[in-house]
Symmetry: C2
Subunit: 598 residues, 2 copies
Amino acid sequence: MAEQLPEYRVPLKDMQFLLNEMSEGNHQDDVASEDLFFILEQAARFAEEELAPINQAGDDEGCVFDNGKVTLPPKLNQAFRTYAEAGWMGLSMPEEWGGQALPERLSSLVGEILTSANHAFSMTPALTMSACRAIISHGTDEIKQTYLEKLIMGEWTGTMCLTEAHCGSDLGLVRTSAEEVSDGVYKIKGNKIFISSGQHDAADNIIHLVLARLKGAPQGIKGLSLFIVPAKLQNKAGVWNKNNAVHCIGIEEKMGMHANPTCSMSFEEAEGYLLGQPNRGINAMFTMMNEMRLGASMQGIGLSERSFQKSLAYAVERTQMRSLGGVKAPDKEADPIIVHPDVRRMLLTQKVFAEGGRALGQFCANLLDESHLPNADKERVELLGFLTPIAKGFLTDTGLASADMAIQMYGGHGFIKETGAEQLFRDGRASTLYEGTTGIQALDLLGRKVLAGQGKSLLSFTKMLHVLSKNTDSESLADLADVLGGYAKEWPELAKQLGAKGMGDFEEVGAASFDFLMYSGYATLAYFWLKMAAVAQDILDGKRHPKGDGFDRDFLDAKVKNARFYFERILPRARAHKEMMLAGKGSMMNISEAQLIG
Amino acid sequence: MAEQLPEYRVPLKDMQFLLNEMSEGNHQDDVASEDLFFILEQAARFAEEELAPINQAGDDEGCVFDNGKVTLPPKLNQAFRTYAEAGWMGLSMPEEWGGQALPERLSSLVGEILTSANHAFSMTPALTMSACRAIISHGTDEIKQTYLEKLIMGEWTGTMCLTEAHCGSDLGLVRTSAEEVSDGVYKIKGNKIFISSGQHDAADNIIHLVLARLKGAPQGIKGLSLFIVPAKLQNKAGVWNKNNAVHCIGIEEKMGMHANPTCSMSFEEAEGYLLGQPNRGINAMFTMMNEMRLGASMQGIGLSERSFQKSLAYAVERTQMRSLGGVKAPDKEADPIIVHPDVRRMLLTQKVFAEGGRALGQFCANLLDESHLPNADKERVELLGFLTPIAKGFLTDTGLASADMAIQMYGGHGFIKETGAEQLFRDGRASTLYEGTTGIQALDLLGRKVLAGQGKSLLSFTKMLHVLSKNTDSESLADLADVLGGYAKEWPELAKQLGAKGMGDFEEVGAASFDFLMYSGYATLAYFWLKMAAVAQDILDGKRHPKGDGFDRDFLDAKVKNARFYFERILPRARAHKEMMLAGKGSMMNISEAQLIG
């Protein structure tokens, strides 16, 4: 009888390894790993029992738009209510407003779990948390008192209204206008598109954060302000049931994520209130944006993990052909496909993307926790800024590659909806588009985070690579450590070359940016893989004492072996990106538009 | 006003370039390129006017299954009737049965055009042609007389019934049985899945080619025979209206290709007739399979071409941000995104995959035409066998990469059904799965076509690379010629190394096969890109006189420039595949199944 693997099982052991053995941040919050792990187990149970089982039905049913109202698939609605009522929305929110003030290194793992279990479900909580963070950072006390508790309890939910039909990447073009009509009250007018959870029936009120331009404000990005626009306003009796002039005028038919509504919103002189300073909306937005980019990177990790598990379940069960190394399952008419090297190549690729990505994500979450401290180290904050576009751009890309491999793993069955492999890809496909496309991340990384900062953050990271390479003394990892040492040296040299080229010609930066991002992603994951392998090898060799009960030898040995797979079978891709990034803009820019059209 | 590009425009100029300047095969059929081109223009008109406009509606409407009957979207049904009645089904079929006996180098281009215009539409004609080819190769005169004319007229259509629920790649496991009940009449019993066009309402009869096992035949692949099973039999009066015991018991809900039904078929002691020799069904199947693999490679080309055009149309129209090189469209609030280097990277990647793939496809089609000649050169036939898994595996992979880039090009709009970008990916996603997955192509290439044949075909191809490299004397292409010369030397050396490793351990072949396939694909397209560029440069330099009216300088100059893009920005990926293929099986196979499950 073929082993039956569950639909989705939270990778708790790996998460515990990260929390216990890989978290070296400055944890002034002082929450013990064991306490975090206990909460993680509760999240795991909820995700496995409540969210994963309704993922496919949500895709089938989708959301319904009727006369301005959006209905979620009923099971998704119920799951959101259960989630909110259990207090999960407040996980990393301040206690003052009903949250539990737990660190980001926990909530980021929960974010991954939600995506793995049910990508569509994860959207409303994520957006609401982002809205809360913007209000916490930029709201007046009155605004905080009015909105935070309701949002954190999940009685209300939040949105981000940025995009308009004619502008997404280029927010400087925003046309939605705002005009002050009385002290502190503004009329917001305009249309926004792609508003996730812009209208739905799982909360009593929806609080929109809207990017708009004050009358008379400058053109471009420096003339934008951020406004709070509740769907329902308080009536004279203080009850929040008075309709504001904001309407959902339609929902998009999308490739995936059918269980989360993507709304077109019309603000028809809706009442709104300034959040933060006038004309500084983009700054307020960027606080959120950076955390949302990290959130999107968690989606990439979750997608790789779920795709791996989906593929693995099939690989142990599906029998087809005999092993090239001789019959492995003589009692069956064919061997399970997990015996085939190329099947293992795909499985291990998904696995090293998931676990390597998780280690990077966890490192970023630790930096985020540090950045929230009053005495936050500027260099560490900048390191987070450097790693954010890598995490977002690279991990969403590898997440989609993993999902695509899940389809491939299933052969013809991968094309069929019933198996659920193709839904992973469809649901995940937006992750390289929203919160800044991969191209935008690439420009942010090379242009802003590396070149504009004279490579300081890059150097502080490659120093970590260098130190790890020098300090990895296990014989079994010596060759990998040498390879990483090479990247520690080469990476800043490449940035320098590109910087020199880009000095006289910004287009050279644009032409190299995508390959620089991908190179950076592969090099970054190499660091985390060697780090995990070195820790695991030290525990195996008795040189390091793990926290708590430790880990079984199979798990630790797999970390060492998977690191080798990563270095031998994935990292070489960086060689190609190196060559391509150095090729210059010529072959792209010398051809005329007319020649492209033909 | 932004330039409005059409939904799809057949790349006739590029096709003419291939027909006129790149077709160096042994054309005993002696059909003039101009005549072929004239027909191509008719196909283009049909595809642009009739097929492309109904592509999106077909996806929306899908096929309907009701009580054993399948209804196509009405416009697709009508388009098939129009196509068949215009005689397109018989393009490359023998005149004896109503065809026009035109060469494959024409019909392969038509195949590409159909996929670009409407992937779902292209399926029924392609399958019917394959069935005809099997009947032509293996049928008795009586069988030919009975079926060919109706199929070639498109009054009837054909299917291939291979896959069963428990076996796809591993056809040796087929369980469908056949028993002779009277002279030449067999009862076929079993269930088949994934039968494209297995039931539909656009033809009077459907002729199934069914792989089944004769009672008492050996187990495995050498016990399979091929049978003809018509959905409707002749009644006593000679009219084909008597139902055979074959039923469609359902159609799949799929990721894409909604306008083509994927049927589950039940053969309930259905009447069938042997096609070819008993227990030699797999040989008969492989005749078809190889041509179907070439057909799938055309789909990959068509997908790259359509994705390029889809992306280009948006890139010239959508304005967002200013060029890094300074404002390009001062009259607009932002520049069209085609000015951005990373947008051009994506566009040119799609373009070099489409045009490079087309050149490879056309070369294969020429070889196929040669192989049909009575005095066919064995070495050329083997060269086709060598190139077939490369064309199928690599061009479907690059086709999907192109479609994925089309989604990326549209940003958030790429995720929305309305724009049509995501449909390209969904429709095309099966192309790396059917007719043998990419993993199967990779094993076929390295194991059977290269190593089992002592690398003979590879050497005959790398000799062509070597000769082209030596003979390319344009200064502008000298560096590219050098690079190609390096591949001509390295490629067989890699095969030799892998062969030595694989001699004692077949799993080493499996472990290297995917990267060897991808390396081969990149190297193969490098040959065709240099070849096209060298021809174009010679015409530009007046060293070569083009046929007919020739080509405008912009077109020829673009060929030279795009070759450089290919060598600088795409070919370096082969470096990574080289390193990965040589890494050995260890990091994949040393990890236990238990460790993978965790």
